[in-house]
Symmetry: C2
Subunit: 332 residues, 2 copies
DNA sequence: TCCCACTCTGTGAACGTTCACAGAAAGCCG
DNA sequence: CGGCTTTCTGTGAACGTTCACAGAGTGGGA
């Protein structure tokens, strides 16, 4: 029992391939009689379009590849990825575009992604957590394939449109809040300085604190919970009298909380802790985190929109920056 | 500038299409002279195989679809999914098979998945968190498409091979441990009773407790943190003197911890809490969770193996059940 | 009435592979 | 030397669509 083809439908409807193809693709020059006959024939035969055959001639695949650029050990700790992936799948599904997931954790992976895209196996690329100076990005830009990023790709802001939260302003909100709460020695644990979140959240921090943001009050993490623990330990050592810390992600903040607890500091009485992301861990820590909510789902939706627009041949309307909001819980 | 095709390679190497195709597919009847010429030609022209064209004739796509069957609100809270997805991608990549991600949160989604598979757009299906009685599964089985599941598909254990942790024995380990610690009134919060984890972890619990596992000591959650909170509240109301609770997932256990804290019960002094999964939340709670580690990555690897074997036309060697281990932290 | 525009339809070619087949060349055995 | 097997190669057809083109029918305006 072979699957029915467009020929079978045409025969059943008493028309030709061409006409069937026209209704399949929404061409307007089809008589209502033919259209109805064809629709009946499709239902009767159980015909399903063969996208492979279509792709061969249209040079379009109807799929998009999402590239996750985290090293393997670390990947996916961040619950935000899940939201982004889910939202993107849904957004693309409305246009019947499917989502292929690839990793770019090492050079072999990146090579594979390049081959995949260069081979024309995807109509567009959705970049996630791409670090500065990624060679793969150079190749993609050179190829001119439609691309979009969730969070800016550093150094490629003008070539690859993106959707992101307003990291800098979010960091300002949190820092201002800590200041307003009367905190005087405010430290920060940043993200990696080759990611937009790492850079801009630190910028927001220094925007508010000015020269009070001394070197000793700044340390760097890599988004992992473990790096939050060790970062907090370093800060306590360098500045034992700190009374607040702005941690650039909730996951790192969870790590910072454990270190503080082990050091016998009460949160928020002795040290206030501010996170960033409002991810699911924010409510499972003790105490629950005061944090900055970023509209991850909205950003993913916007990114999908930007990507589809490019695939349709339109010029994307620049980056989309979304506002953040302060969520006060108990840690600060 | 068109991309080079197999014709261009053939011309550059001074052979015919057929011979090029043979080296591309690893056929042994090719002279070393031709083979070398062709390999040079491929490198020089920058040729990349067009999988679409290949798919059209071979009826194989070189891709597999992973289906996530959680309702949209809830999906992805569980960090284990991330591990599974990542591991599956890596495993498939070694065979140059790509992974398409689809959701099956509502009927529309499921319909889309069916259309996709029926249309022959994937060589196999990787089922994640599929609930009992899912109509989509019936269709897939009927279609006879290679399929595999992470965690048994209830009612389809014999038709769809799977890889899973030994949920029942894991639950026994935890329950035994609680008993050994001298706990006398042990309750449990289960997962949904249409999932294997929900059913089997409860079975393990009653295996150990026998008739001591009274109705009042059993309540059901849906894997979410919130359901852990409310489940714990119900238990405290029904059985105020309980001194331990086995929660069928870490995420729900995190919820249970908050409820206990709000109720003024100390963990583990007043109430011991045992989780299940050893997911990332287990270490961010306070106190850190004593839990059951399941080899999620191993299970994903095995599932990929089972799937690829079927795609290669072999009979899968039955379900793979992997051992769990007790991880003692501070909550019990 | 004639011409043109518009609507609708069918047909052949093309997309870039693989596959089956046929046939050439080479080696071996009696 | 003749025939048989093995190795190697080229060719036409096929996979299931879309697309461009040509042509038929219809209606309206000059």
């Amino acid at each position: 029992m072979k699957r029915p083809t467009i020929h079978d439908v045409a025969a059943a409807a008493g028309v030709s391939r061409g006409t069937v193809s026209r209704v399949l693709n929404g061409d307007r020059y089809v008589s209502t009689a033919s259209r109805m006959a064809i629709e009946r024939a499709i239902a009767e035969t159980g015909y399903i379009l063969n996208r492979t055959a279509r792709s061969l001639v249209t040079q379009r695949t109807g799929s998009v590849v999402m590239v996750l650029s985290e090293p393997h050990e670390k990947l996916f700790e961040d619950p935000n990825y899940s939201t982004t992936i889910r939202t993107a799948i849904r957004g693309l599904a409305t246009r019947d575009v499917s989502l292929v997931l690839m990793m770019a954790g090492d050079d072999g992976d990146r090579e594979r992604v390049i081959r995949y895209v260069r081979g024309g196996h995807a109509d567009g690329v959705f970049l996630l957590s791409t670090h500065a100076g990624d060679r793969m990005v150079d190749v993609l830009v050179e190829l001119g394939v439609p691309a979009v990023a969730q969070g800016a790709v550093i150094g490629r802001e003008s070539q690859i449109p993106y959707a992101a939260a307003d990291d800098r302003e979010g960091a300002r909100q949190m820092t201002r809040y800590l200041v307003e709460q009367g905190r005087r020695r405010i430290a920060t644990i940043t993200g990696p300085m080759d990611t937009p979140g790492g850079i801009q959240r630190l910028e927001g921090f220094t925007d508010v604190l000015g020269r009070k943001a001394s070197k000793k009050l700044i340390t760097h993490g890599d988004w992992t919970q473990l790096s939050g623990e060790s970062g907090m330990a370093r800060l306590l050592q360098d500045t034992p009298d700190l009374d607040a810390v702005f941690v650039a992600s909730d996951l790192m903040a969870a790590g910072a909380l454990s270190t503080l607890r082990m050091a016998g500091r009460r949160v928020p009485e002795d040290v206030a802790v501010g996170g960033f992301d409002d991810s699911s861990v924010a409510v499972s820590t003790h105490p629950p985190l005061t944090t900055i909510r970023q509209p991850v789902a909205r950003a993913a939706e916007e990114a999908v929109r930007l990507l589809l627009a490019q695939i349709d041949g339109q010029r994307p309307d620049g980056p989309v920056i979304l506002p953040t909001t302060l969520v006060v819980r108990e840690s600060a």
